[in-house]
Symmetry: C2
Subunit: 168 residues, 2 copies
Amino acid sequence: MKPTEDEVEAAVTAFEVFLRDRQLKMTEQRRTMVRVVLAKRGHFTADELYRKLLTDGESVSMATVYRALALLEEGGVVEGHDFADGQRRYERALDREHHDHMICVDCRAVIEFTNEQIEHLQHEVAQGSGFTLKDHSLQLFVTCDEWHASGACERRSQREARRSEAQA
Amino acid sequence: MKPTEDEVEAAVTAFEVFLRDRQLKMTEQRRTMVRVVLAKRGHFTADELYRKLLTDGESVSMATVYRALALLEEGGVVEGHDFADGQRRYERALDREHHDHMICVDCRAVIEFTNEQIEHLQHEVAQGSGFTLKDHSLQLFVTCDEWHASGACERRSQREARRSEAQA
DNA sequence: ATATCTGCAAATGTTTTGCACTTTT
DNA sequence: AAAAGTGCAAAACATTTGCAGATAT
């Protein structure tokens, strides 16, 4: 799942090319962010990434994180999502197929899914109205009933929180 | 399309019942907001609603608009959406069937659509993973190619803007 | 060299909140 | 009278920006 060392370095190089094409520069901060971001499992906010970098002893500012995140998104290193909770969330885009998200409205757990038929229908809908589909955003807000009954839901969200904190 | 006078008054009454059930009070501001909101076509932000109320000579504060909007949403008078552009958008929920949105990434025009199959598949996906679907959010980001070629796209977005301003 | 970056702190824009006062019930 | 609502101004947030100094090309 996690990209190998080589894959990460290849991504760093690819990002450097992306930057050069637009007359932008590769910097220590940007290079570090590519590496850190690709090592991450799950979703993260700008602030979470910033804190992780600080913990790692890197020298960055929040402003740089935001500025870089925009570039990483354009460069295809990360993908950004809006889960309607006030802050943008990112996940690494390398080696990951497209997917949508289910969000538990009780514990905020995020579960990924893909559905070919839905994907296909989206194109049909857009074309049917004379448009070209460029992108989409689909979130299913759900409750995980049995989990809640058993308390597993809370345990899970705590576990996830700990994990993403720990490994980042 | 626009609800009749009677429908609006029925909605005001229904909202009053909703409030009473939760030991909340009906006020002049809330009553006015129900009426204004139900007369609106299209989408609006909290700020747009606030300005409309001021223009109408109503006495409200931004804080009250936000507080009321949350209640109107819970009470089913409006529906809120997150189009990933930094501010929440609302539309009246009365007499409107459920629909999703296509947003033109060039001119920000919003086009509504419904697709039964997609709706159905969403439930299947959630249930298939053992969850209960409570809500969903689907946006298709599109470009309206011919419109742009002809300039119709810009004209349309201007028209829409004017209309929603005018009639509100 | 020179264009681009960075950090900082200040600004932004939206939404929320504390509090004293007003209005519903 | 008691409980809830309101306006105001201040706070809270996430995010962006101006600028002077630092860094990549």
